[in-house]
C-alpha cells in the first residue's frame, strides 16, 4: 500500500510539473525551433528585454492590481464592518447574495455582462469614451470585493463587541472607535484580503479580456494575444521569469507564515 501511494503521488507530480519544466528548458535553448536543441543560451531573454509591449503590459497590470486592491480593500472592509453591525437579516442576505454573484458566476458571464453595461453607457454619451483603463479598474474592484469581505469577516466575528461599545461610551466617535479599537484587531484579515485582491487582479484574464478594449492590455491579455499566433521562444523566457517569481514569492510567504505559527505556539507554551 505504501509503495502504491508513493508511486501514485510521484506520477501525479511528474505529470503536473513536466510541462512547466520543459517550458523553462526551452527558454534556455538557443534554437528558434522547439524541435532542435542548440545549446544553452540567454538569447531569448535578451530579445524579451528589448520588447516594449511586455513592459507596458506589466506596468498596466501592476497599476491596476495596486489600485483595485487598495479600493476594494477600503470598500470591502467598510462593508464587512457594516454587515457585522447590521440588524436586519433580510438586508444582510441581500448584500451577501449580490456580493457573491461574481464568485458563483462563470467568469465569462461576469466579463460579457460588464462589457454590455459599459458599451450601453458609452453609447448613451455618444461614444466619447471607450473600454480601457477605467473599465478594467472597475471590473477588478468588483470581483475583488467579495474576497476582501471574506477575509475580514471572520476577524470581526472574533472581536469582542463590547470593546467598540466601550470606546463609544468613553467618548470616541464611531470613526475614532473603528480606527483605534476595531482596525488594529482585524488588521491581519485586512492585509490578507489586500494580498488576495492584488494576486487575483494580476492573474485575471477572462474578465479583463472582455472589458479592456483594443488599446489597453494587461499582461495576461498580452499573453493571450501573443499566443494566438505561433510564438517565438522569447515568450517562453517571459513565462519562465513569471513562474520563477511566483515560486520565490510562494516560498517566502510560506516561510513567514511557518515562522508566525512557531511564534504563536511558543507564546502559548510560556503562558
Amino acid at each position: 500500500m505504501k509503495i502504491f501511494s508513493r508511486c501514485y503521488m510521484a506520477l501525479i507530480y511528474i505529470i503536473l510539473y513536466t510541462p512547466i519544466i520543459v517550458l523553462m528548458l526551452i527558454s534556455f535553448n538557443g534554437s528558434a525551433s522547439t524541435a532542435s536543441v542548440d545549446g544553452f543560451s540567454f538569447r531569448w531573454y535578451a530579445e524579451l528585454f528589448s520588447r516594449s509591449d511586455v513592459f507596458d503590459a506589466l506596468k498596466n497590470s501592476l497599476i491596476i492590481a495596486t489600485l483595485s486592491a487598495v479600493i476594494s480593500t477600503v470598500l470591502g472592509t467598510a462593508a464587512a464592518v457594516g454587515l457585522g453591525k447590521m440588524r436586519s437579516r433580510a438586508m444582510k442576505n441581500t448584500v451577501d447574495t449580490i456580493n457573491n454573484i461574481p464568485m458563483m458566476n462563470p467568469e465569462i458571464v461576469v466579463g460579457i455582462s460588464m462589457m454590455l453595461l459599459f458599451v450601453a453607457v458609452f453609447a448613451m454619451f455618444g461614444d466619447t469614451m471607450t473600454l480601457g483603463f477605467g473599465t478594467v479598474l472597475i471590473a477588478h474592484i468588483t470581483f475583488n470585493l467579495p474576497y476582501v469581505i471574506l477575509n475580514v469577516t471572520p476577524k470581526l466575528r472574533q472581536l469582542d463587541k463590547h470593546l467598540s461599545e466601550a470606546a463609544l461610551d468613553l467618548g470616541c466617535t464611531p470613526v475614532q472607535s473603528f480606527i483605534k479599537v476595531e482596525l488594529p484587531n482585524i488588521i491581519s484579515g485586512v492585509i490578507s484580503g489586500f494580498i488576495m485582491a492584488f494576486t487575483l487582479s494580476l492573474d485575471d484574464f477572462v474578465i479583463t479580456y472582455f472589458v479592456s478594449g483594443a488599446e489597453f492590455q494587461t499582461l495576461p491579455v498580452l499573453i493571450y494575444n501573443i499566443t494566438k499566433k505561433p510564438v517565438k521562444p522569447d515568450i517562453y523566457a517571459l513565462f519562465t521569469l513569471l513562474i520563477l517569481t511566483i515560486f520565490v514569492l510562494l516560498i517566502i510567504s510560506n516561510v513567514i507564515s511557518a515562522r508566525g505559527d512557531r511564534k504563536l505556539k511558543g507564546g502559548k507554551g510560556v503562558k
Binding site: 501525479i12 507530480y13 522547439t34 457594516g82 454573484i101 467568469e107 458571464v109 454590455l116
Partner: protein, 278 residues
C-alpha cells in the same frame, strides 16, 4: 429601520451601490440583450435560434462532466494519500499540488502545447527515436486532459481540507467493528468527505464548462465549446444579442446544476470552501 440602526449599516452603502451598478445592472443588460434584436426590438428569436448551438452545448456539457469526473477520481486518492502522510510532510506535499494554481492559466495551458503540439517536445522525442509522430493537439482528448490538468489543484484542495479534519477515531471504530479497509472507505470516509467532493466539483465544473482558452489552444480550433462560441459573438457588435442569449442559458444551466448538487449535499459545504485560503 430606526435612525440608529441606519447609522450602523452606513459603511455597507458604498458596497451595496457598487454591487447594484456593476453586478446586478450588467446582468439586467444580459437579459435585455438576450430578448432584443440589433435594433432594440423585443424578440424571442435569439433564444429560439439557440437550437443551432444545441450540438455545442451538448459537447461542452459532456466534456466538462467527463473532465470533472476524471478530476474527482484522480484527486480523491491524492488527497487521501496526502492526508495520510502526517502533518509535516503533508504540508509540503499539498504545497506542491497547489503551486500550479498560482501560475496563470494561460501559461499552464500553453506549457502543455510545448509538449503535446505537432512539433512539440513529445513528437521531437518520438521522431528522434524513429517512432513517427502522434497528433494530440486538435483532439477532444487533449482538451479534456487540459481541463483536468489546469483545474486539478482546485479539486484536491477542498477534498484534502475535509479529509484532514476527519476524526481518526471513526476510522478505528469502523475497523474495530469489523469493516475491511475497502468497506471503511466506502461506508465511513467517503460519506464524511462528500462536502469536499461537492465543492471541488463546483470549482472544476463551472470554469471548465465556460473555458475558451483551453479549447482554442489544445482543441486547435477544430471544434467549438460554449465558451468559444460566446467569445466569438462578443468580438462583433452585431452578434451581441445572440451571445447574450447563449450566456444567459449557460448561466441558468450552471446555477440549476449547482442548486441541485447543493440540495444533495446539505449545508455543510461552506466549511470546505474555507480551505480556499492559503
Amino acid at each position: 429601520m430606526n435612525k440608529k440602526s441606519l447609522m450602523r449599516s452606513l459603511p455597507v452603502i458604498p458596497n451595496l451601490v457598487w454591487g447594484i451598478i456593476f453586478i446586478v445592472l450588467p446582468l439586467v443588460f444580459v437579459l435585455y440583450y438576450a430578448f432584443t434584436d440589433f435594433d432594440g426590438n423585443f424578440t424571442f428569436a435569439n433564444i429560439i435560434g439557440l437550437s443551432d448551438y444545441a450540438q455545442t452545448f451538448l459537447l461542452s456539457v459532456s466534456m466538462s462532466v467527463i473532465a470533472t469526473v476524471i478530476c474527482v477520481l484522480v484527486a480523491y486518492p491524492m488527497a487521501y494519500f496526502i492526508s495520510k502522510a502526517g502533518p509535516q510532510k503533508g504540508k509540503i506535499l499539498l504545497f506542491l499540488v497547489l503551486i500550479p494554481m498560482w501560475i496563470n492559466l494561460l501559461i499552464r495551458t500553453y506549457s502543455m502545447m510545448a509538449i503535446l503540439d505537432d512539433e512539440g517536445f513529445l513528437n521531437s522525442i518520438l521522431t528522434a527515436l524513429h517512432m513517427g509522430t502522434v497528433r494530440i493537439v486538435g483532439t477532444k482528448g487533449a482538451v479534456i486532459f487540459g481541463i483536468v490538468y489546469d483545474f486539478f489543484p482546485y479539486m484536491v484542495l477542498p477534498i484534502y481540507t475535509v479529509m484532514s479534519k476527519l476524526d481518526k477515531s471513526l476510522i478505528e471504530a469502523s475497523s474495530d467493528l469489523g469493516c475491511s479497509k475497502i468497506q471503511t472507505l466506502f461506508r465511513v470516509i467517503l460519506p464524511l468527505t462528500k462536502s469536499g467532493i461537492i465543492s471541488g466539483v463546483t470549482m472544476v465544473f463551472v470554469p471548465s464548462i465556460s473555458t475558451f482558452y483551453i479549447s482554442q489552444k489544445l482543441g486547435g480550433g477544430t471544434f467549438d465549446l460554449i465558451g468559444d462560441t460566446i467569445e466569438r459573438q462578443f468580438s462583433n457588435p452585431t452578434t451581441y444579442n445572440i451571445g447574450a442569449a447563449i450566456s444567459l442559458v449557460m448561466m441558468v444551466l450552471i446555477l440549476l446544476s449547482l442548486f441541485i448538487m447543493n440540495k444533495f449535499a446539505g449545508d455543510d459545504t461552506d466549511e470546505a470552501k474555507g480551505g480556499m485560503m492559503p
